[in-house]
Amino acid sequence: MDSDEGSKKDVTLSRRKFVKLGAASAVAGSAMMASLPSQVMAEASKGITGKQTLSSLPNKIDNTVYQRFHQKNTAFCQAITGTFPEGRQALGMLGSTSNELGQRTLDKAISDAGWYIDSLIADGASTSSPDTVAYARDNETAPERYDFSSPEEAAHYVKKAARFLGADLVGITPYDERWTYASFYNPQKQKSLPPDLPFTPKSVIVMAFEMDYEAMTTAPSGVSGGAVGLGYSQMAITGASMRKFLTNIGYKTFAAGNDVALSVPYGMAAGLGEAARNGILVTYEYGPRVRIGKIFTELDLACDSPVSFGVQHFCETCMLCADACPGHAISTEKLPSFAVNNECNNPGVSKWAIDAKKCLLAWGKTKSDCATCVTSCPYNKPDFWHHRLVDKVNRLMPGPVHSVMREMDKLFGYGNSFDKKAVDLFWKS
């Protein structure tokens, strides 16, 4: 693959065009406001917050087809066990170094450092190893329970604890067996395990962990790999700490990384964000630049509802992640559908299915854990006021305006990937 692929072309503007653009933007701004449909204006005048609460998950589920997913069908498990040998080869490339910016020993060292705590206590949670120090399921529980006056009060205290212990976003949803793997798999030990849980959880606390914005602008590189690893390490630390907190007050609890259950549906159900074209949970605060951890507990907690802030609608037009993906693993179909690529996708849910095998092969080519689909997404912005404003305006705009927004995002220099200068900027800032 050409290492410049997906890079942002330099924007050069003549002085004449510069002035014209300035004048045009003043006119375009007023024209856009004038073109807002009346129902949108009505919504705006009600004081829209940008997030709409939904009564159920927005994705259509065909219950006649949907079955629980077997963990061993993930591309990772298949690569590690050798049933997907090209994938195994690709994983072997991640540690290789060269003199290229982003691939130097220095860059790979920060990647390894980011992953370090995860590898110590979670055994590489991205490959979903169950029963590690952080994600052990059978845990000692204090005999005396701390009683909360209501599930609402309990939820308040639990969310406070999760944020204090390192989560950036916290949501709660009831335990839903549909998202639990039909069978567990330990790729390190190459062993299938029955999907037995030590108790039937009542609530699932879903936590999102922000990955560093600046480091992620270097994707795909060792530096962005470090940000991904650090996200996993923080997820393991907070997961283990939350388990300790809840078992200390007498409630059976265990934490999970990518193991036990699918993370994206839980993230959606807990109101953290929407599933997007790139197959990732896009959160309101950090876009797709998050990792998701889960806590399963028998404590009865007040739950959150799924939300929408227009991501799926925007994805229909945007496709920036699909254009930037070096593995051509992201769907370019306009609308989500029930189509799947291979056994790595679970049929029966309407979505844009990622081709996880193509994705993993691109990791080998880029010698990194890629994440270009995170970096290129217009929702991947720091939590600054002007990005929130654009999000809100986006939500009010009809579909065709989204194409303009997509181009503006590129013109403003956001979403670059394969940008070697970003690596330099990261180290020197």
Binding site: L13, L21, G22, S25, A26, H386, F412, G413, Y414
Partner: protein
Amino acid sequence: MGVFSGIEILFFFLGVITTLGVLGIIYLKQKRQAGPLSLFLSASGLFLLVFALAWSMSSIIEHEHQAANMGLLFFGLPAILLLGMAWKKLPEKR
């Protein structure tokens, strides 16, 4: 500056600029007898100018330099044009 974050300093100075801008508009109305069109253009220009500065400085704080430049171009330039038009619409000094 240690005690204050970049965004806090930015919004402090934006407050100062907005106050000066509003005083300027009051001056135009009271001392230069600016008409409604001129006042409208200067208020819109001031709003856009403050927005352009806020956008661009915020982008610099988050190390997005191209976004900062484009912010000045897309919001700053129209702001200058509006302020220029407002100036042209002022009645002659007596």
